[in-house]
Symmetry: C2
Subunit: 481 residues, 2 copies
């Protein structure tokens, strides 16, 4: 990817009269001026700054001053120097503030291979900056928006309309993420001891939410190729679940996508019954091949969709939504006050910005994930040839099958060595999936390589069918981040 460059004269224009902006030495004033441009998005990220000499000339100051300003910015994390591409604009990273924020905590040496999440792209900061400019309009109000603010609900509705599902903001309610949406659905529509149908395996926190609500999970096994229509219809008919929680698009952890025919049968089966079908669409944006032709979403009174910003954009943007028939939305809003009084307005405004125009964030994320997925698949196949892992249709992880049911023990041993794993049983109930491990491809290449190296060492050769020839490959590991 070619580096974007900003000329000295263009930078001069954006800087304005930087020298008068603050008191103190000139280099500090210049650093402050540049920092503000980066922070409010007038100077994009990863842009190459002019050379010190040409900038000094354009600004009519000494090169020493420019040099000192760049050093200050580099120290504060707003400039990163690269051997080939020069001084690039940046945002301070967690490591520069010494926090333990990275998924791979360098100080402790622990690698978190149990969580499948990604850092924020630069678009997130720009969206927050725009949101902050729009926020004051809300200050005279009380700030409670139990349904969510109109900008956000409109942006979500537009997203569904683009997919061909007629949606107004009356179909949409803001939540603190998809998990919070599920908790609210359970509180509103389900009673203790009710049955809740789930994919098996499924998202672990969803199982926890169902159990915490006092309900009985009704697991329907997934086959390697997807949903078993007959099994799911039989469970719907025979057990009359009050709610069905299904991850139809880039299923977590398997990456599968549900067929249009299965969706149709589910809708038909649920019509006239008491079952609410909840589709968790958290991973929907994260396809790994070409843009899929998702089946046009079906509308029906009892179909509910959960969305989230956290996997598509950033986990720190803690906001999601429920898309449902306005009758259901009304009941959800009434029930909400027993859990919380609403979602922060600023988060909603930032999310609305990203939903309406993500500035290429999703494309960039998918490209990155595609590369990391292929890379992880490659090193797993090399280092652990007896394991079976396929390229998923989407999502953030591989669902690797082991030759023997030893996932929990393997996870425990890796944990002692500083590698946190999500063993298969975490994704099921009753001790299922001891033959499986979820391997996220969200970490940089080097860290995935370290993780697989530890895995291969713990998973001794006597368990594997081939020699662990992993070491050769680890030498030319690319860092994908």
């Amino acid at each position: 990817m070619a580096t974007r460059i900003i000329s000295a004269s263009s930078l001069l224009r954006r800087l304005g009269s930087w020298r008068q902006a603050t008191v103190g030495p000139a280099y500090q004033a210049l650093a402050v001026g540049l920092r503000l441009l980066i922070l409010d998005g007038r100077l994009p990220l990863a842009v190459r700054l002019p050379g010190e000499r040409s900038l000094a000339k354009a600004l009519g100051i000494s090169r020493t001053t420019v040099s000192a300003a760049f050093a200050q910015l580099e120290n504060d994390g707003f400039v990163q120097k690269h051997e080939r591409s020069g001084a690039l604009t940046a945002l301070p990273s967690a490591s520069s503030r010494g926090g333990a924020l990275l998924t791979h905590d360098r100080e402790s040496g622990v690698i978190d291979f149990a969580t499948a999440t990604m850092p924020a792209g630069p678009q997130v900061h720009a969206a927050y900056a725009k949101a902050l400019a729009a926020l004051p309009a809300y200050f005279p109000g009380h700030g409670y928006e139990p349904l969510g603010c109109r900008e956000f609900r409109e942006a979500v509705a537009e997203r569904y309309r683009r997919e061909g599902l007629a949606t107004s903001c009356n179909h949409v309610m803001a939540t603190h993420g998809a998990q919070n949406g599920l908790a609210l659905l359970l509180r509103t529509f389900v009673r203790p001891l009710d049955r809740v149908l789930i994919d098996h395996p499924t998202y672990p926190n969803a199982i926890d939410a169902i159990l915490a609500a006092g309900c009985r999970p009704l697991p329907v096994p997934l086959t390697p190729s997807g949903w078993d229509d007959e099994a799911i219809m039989a469970a719907m008919r025979g057990e009359a679940p009050r709610l069905a929680y299904i991850i139809a698009d880039h299923h977590n952890p398997t990456g599968l996508v549900m067929q249009a025919t299965t969706r149709q049968r589910l809708t038909t089966q649920a019509t006239g019954s008491d079952t609410i079908i909840v589709y968790d669409e958290t991973m929907r944006d994260l396809w790994l091949g070409n843009e899929p032709g998702f089946p046009k979403p079906q509308d029906a009174h009892h179909i509910v969709r959960l969305g989230s910003m956290s996997k598509s954009f950033w986990g720190g943007l803690r906001i999601g939504w429920i898309r449902a028939h306005p009758d259901l939305i009304k009941k959800l809003v009434e029930a909400r006050a027993s859990l919380d009084l609403g979602v922060p307005i600023l988060e909603q405004l930032a999310a609305a910005e990203l939903l309406l125009d993500d500035g290429g964030a999703l494309d960039a994320r998918r490209t990155l994930l595609r590369g990391r997925c292929d890379y992880l698949l490659g090193i797993v196949r090399d280092a652990l040839p007896s394991w079976r892992a396929h390229r998923p249709e989407g999502g953030l992880s591989l669902w690797a099958e082991l030759p023997r049911p030893i996932a929990t023990g393997l996870g425990d041993k890796c944990g002692e060595l500083g590698l946190h794993l999500a063993a298969g049983p975490r994704f099921g109930i009753g001790g299922a999936f001891e033959r499986f491990i979820r391997l996220p491809f969200t970490l940089p290449g080097k860290e995935m390589a370290r993780a697989v190296s530890i895995l291969a060492n713990v998973y001794r050769p006597d368990h594997s069918t081939g020699r662990p020839n992993y070491r050769n490959r680890s030498r030319d590991v690319a860092d994908f981040y």
Copy 2:
């Protein structure tokens, strides 16, 4: 209060080379430059701008250009013109964007006298701006902070240390507000059918949360002067509640403050028992007299405190905290994932800013509330002389006692006339408090006057003991906002 003034030369310095900053006509460039200064806090709010003539001279442009820029800013809500004090910097208000955000929705004519909340002060925007500058340090991380981020937890801990309660950030967990904190406590420590002791009356949403958790509320009546020690101790001993939810500081709705001796007896009584005592401190900052000498907070393993930013600062800052023994915090964090995955980082950073230095926001709020409380008391006593209302020690509302148990009917009739009321029974269980109405003093004077006028007209003279002499007073109503 004297208006702060900014000179033309000082403004010139802050503006920098505004003309080069954007393309388009000069007046627009100037408006953009000024708008940015206001938005990022370099130009404070309610500052008087220089006269058009002197600014034009200083900038070396025509007065027409300055005039057009000011007109643009006024139109966008960033400048407010006042007859005496000239053009003041401002932030756009909800009315300027036409939203239905005001507590008193001018379009519909409805007055919300059921909600006790306040608009945001200018410090809130400044805190968000600072938080936005600090946010990028979190971007490389996954953004999930189930416990809360360190800056926020440290700021809350410091707040308790100032009050004399030894607290580290290990005692603190971030929540989506106090109500969310209560929901999490109920989920973690209480089972269906457990008893939960409550003040009677109490905060309505707390009752809802307790019922939604399947628990049995155990109401202990408050007397007009406060808590009944014998009643509360008898309930603690005899009924062994699993949790006691108490609003000890500026009780909602009565405004009462719990005596130190009662707190001491509660702590002693609960020690060694299974009862967790939860103090909701949402209203603690909002005293109406001189700063009270709160009893030093007691520490004990089973005492939990709920805090919130929403009443002290703004309801749109949807964040609060739980302060508890680290053992309890650990259990709460484990249980959290069944409800949500954490609180937005930006909200936490903004809240930390305000907690550490509120820029006088709380003092200003208390002064405003003091005036509005006295004003409301005055017009209620004039218009409804048979009602009994006292000046509360703190909080946001009067708890008015009617001569007869007619609150629900009164509320219904007022509702038909566009005045939403919170009738007494909403604050209790089993139909109690039909003799009471909560009257918030959070609205501007004119709106409180309109509300009381409607109340007095509905509450007919045959119910009152005196003549409704309200009309005379309504002429010289002050607008307190």
